[in-house]
Amino acid sequence: MKPTFLERTLLGATLMAVAATAAADAALAERKFCFSCHHATETGLGPSFQAIAARHGARRAQMAPVLAYKIQHGGGGNWGVVPMVPSQNVSEADATALARWILGL
């Protein structure tokens, strides 16, 4: 049987060495359909979460709110010319949690 979205992500999340809350964050990302475009380690329609963490790793603290804003409002230019869709149904608190989770904070 092929792994489900959630299983794949949890697998990825484990690779990213994230602790217990990761499961809750992964479930949130799953509910918000982030995994339609992102995977933990492979490039999908958007960059992999691992690549995002690697790119912004040096400036994690500053980048968390920037990425949270981008998750809510969409936008592009960092990885190519394809804008990410906005996720207006994600609250600011959830967007921050997702950004921090991706950055491995």
């Binding site: 339609s36 475009c37 592009g76 190519g80 010319v81 869709v85 996720s87």
Partner: protein
């Protein structure tokens, strides 16, 4: 075949929740007030047929919004009194194509009968009020391309809805070195994303909760690149301004027309709604596997959980003559009937003798839009899963399935056998095949299909169908933007009539047995059309909001109000999810609908 009987004590009482939203009416010490007034432009000229929307404060009894239309002098009156004391400014706005609401002024001094003047300015850019179809029609005017696009993209939300236009603007904002590349890549991503959402949404009924479908499953669009290329070509700018749209036919409204909208708790994936007993709005929700029962007077909502051990996904609703409400599932084989009085569910796992399950879509409607069974009481259904039709005999539980004959030249696409009606003699059923642009019939006595009829455009998208009292069938052509008129007696097409807006994506057609007209609900046009078979003419009933993605229309037998829903789907999509009651205000039915549930003679 397993028949399951869910005890009333368990479902009707055990899982029966009450969201108590009881306000107003119960208490004696409150004032009622009525609202009248006029709608004028900056020069004081009346704006005839403007919509006036009253949005009661949250938590008020009754509808979430009530809309009336101004008369030729621009004057309007709400049919019912509102409870409470009117504040300095009333929660009122007016809407009209080519105008923008500016402000209101109170003209009368009587507290309990406020008179209000609503001021609107003429504007060139109609973006705030024009439906998505207005853009689509201008951007993709070629009919075959238009129908193909509607069939590819308009299943869950309108295109281009405001968020679709926002995305077009975001692409333009990339200031990419090669904007054409940015457009192509971005729209490609969108189409792939939408396909993933489709795979998720439309497999709800056939997978366990919390098990996502395979991420690569493609459901709706199989020509991804062509769709993306068309989007990049035709939606390549910021999509900010639209001019010159008109409804395209006279409005079917009077000063007595009233539209009542009822919000359904979110998240949901609302499908259809019917009104029972003049007072209870029943709404199917595929997402939460529930039915909502909304008391229109108090706004109180009861939740009827569907039996938990089978994935139903309540989808289409069919009133039955015995007062029962039949519920079809999201394309699996669980057929159910709910007793509205007791809340008791009864379910059948529909399988034939060889153990094959059906993928049920609709049950056969008669001319009064009720479930019509054949002479031996069997319930016929369209089997979208197996491209066929079948019956369930509810007395014996017996089922037979019949595979529809192939349509020459259209064997390779999924046929999606969809809508269903039964003739007056109750010995024929007729169906539409949404996926391949065909219609066909089945002779119940002989157990034989008639020769199927392929419509010229394979993307014409025949969707919900209806039948009048002389065995003329009407089919909403979703892609083609037409109403098909077909005579069952001669098995000939009488006509395929262009709707006033062919990009409106007509989802449904319902025969009105008293007015002798067909009502057509659109998914992309924010309107309901009214078709008169005698004159072959259309009229337009504009809805009071954008993104009004309509599904089925039912007609209340006593009062003739239209009952429908705005059903944008996949929980995270923008747009309203509401049940809607529309009183056309023509006084044709013997009884008059009253929003407090007390129907008048």
């Amino acid at each position: 075949m397993i028949e399951r009987h869910i005890g009333g004590s368990f479902v009707a009482r055990g899982l029966y929740l009450l969201l108590s939203l009881q306000f107003g009416f119960a208490h004696g010490a409150h004032a009622d007030f009525t609202v009248t007034g006029s709608v004028v432009d900056g020069n004081g000229n009346p704006i005839a047929q403007a919509q006036v929307v009253y949005q009661p404060p949250p938590g008020s009894a009754g509808a979430s919004a009530i809309t009336v239309f101004a008369d030729a002098q621009g004057e309007f009156a709400f049919p019912q009194a509102f409870s409470g004391t009117p504040g300095a400014s009333l929660p009122l706005v007016s809407r009209a194509l080519g105008y923008e609401y500016r402000t209101q002024a109170r003209s009368g001094s009587n507290q309990s009968r406020p008179q209000v003047t609503l001021l609107m300015d003429r504007v060139v850019n109609q973006a705030a009020v024009a439906p998505a179809s207005a853009w689509l029609r201008q951007r993709i005017p070629e009919r075959q391309q238009q129908s193909q696009f509607v069939m590819d993209c308009i299943d869950c939300h309108q295109v281009p809805a405001p968020e679709v236009r926002d995305y077009a603007a975001a692409i333009a904002d990339m200031h990419a070195p090669d904007p054409a590349v940015a457009r192509t890549q971005s729209w490609q991503m969108i189409v792939q994303y939408m396909n993933r959402l489709s795979a998720w949404e439309f497999s709800r009924g056939s997978r366990k909760a919390d098990t996502p479908p395979q991420p690569d499953a493609v459901y709706s669009v199989n020509n991804e690149d062509a769709v993306a290329a068309r989007l990049a070509d035709r939606f390549g700018d910021r999509l900010e301004a639209i001019e010159g749209y008109a409804w395209g036919a006279p409005l079917a409204v009077t000063p007595q027309t009233a539209i009542y909208e009822y919000a359904v708790p979110e998240p949901n994936a609302v499908r259809e709604a019917v009104l029972l007993g003049g007072r209870a709005l029943w709404v199917a929700d595929v997402a939460t596997n529930r039915m909502y029962e909304i008391d229109i007077a108090s706004g109180r909502q009861k939740i009827h959980e569907a039996p938990v051990d089978v994935p139903i996904g309540p989808h289409s609703l069919h009133r039955a003559a015995d007062g029962g409400l039949w519920v079809t599932p999201l394309f699996n084989n669980v057929l159910s009937r709910i007793n509205p009085a007791s809340g008791e569910w009864r379910t059948w796992m529909v399988r034939d003798e060889r153990g094959r399950g059906a993928g049920i879509h609709d049950l056969s409607f008669g001319h009064d839009h009720e479930l019509l069974t054949d002479a031996s009481g069997r319930i016929w259904f369209s089997d979208i899963g197996n491209n066929g039709v079948g019956y369930l005999d509810p007395k014996t539980g017996r089922t037979e399935l019949f595979a529809a004959p192939p349509v020459p030249g259209r064997e390779n696409e999924p046929a999606m056998l969809y809508g269903l009606i039964m003739n007056k003699a109750r010995n024929q059923i007729w169906y539409s095949q949404l996926g391949i642009g065909a219609i066909g019939g089945f002779d119940i006595d002989r157990q034989q299909f008639f020769e199927p009829i392929a419509l010229p455009d394979p993307n014409s998208g025949p969707r919900r169908i209806t039948i009048d009292d002389a065995d003329v069938m009407y089919v909403a052509l979703y892609g083609g933007g037409q109403l098909l008129e077909f005579d069952l007696n001669t098995r000939r097409i009488i006509g395929a009539h262009d709707l006033p807006d062919t990009a409106s994506a007509p989802y449904t057609a319902t025969w009105d047995p008293v007015r002798k007209v067909v009502w057509i609900g659109t998914a992309n046009g924010d309107v309901i059309y009214r078709f008169d078979p005698k004159t072959k003419g259309f009229q337009v009933l504009p809805l009071p909001r954008t993104r009004a993605f309509l599904r089925m229309i039912d007609i209340d037998r006593a009062t003739g109000v239209l009952v429908t829903s705005y059903a944008n789907i996949v929980e995270l999509v923008q747009g309203p999810r509401m049940a809607v009651i529309i009183d056309p205000g023509d006084n044709v039915y013997p009884q008059r609908f009253a929003p407090n549930g007390e129907t008048r003679q």
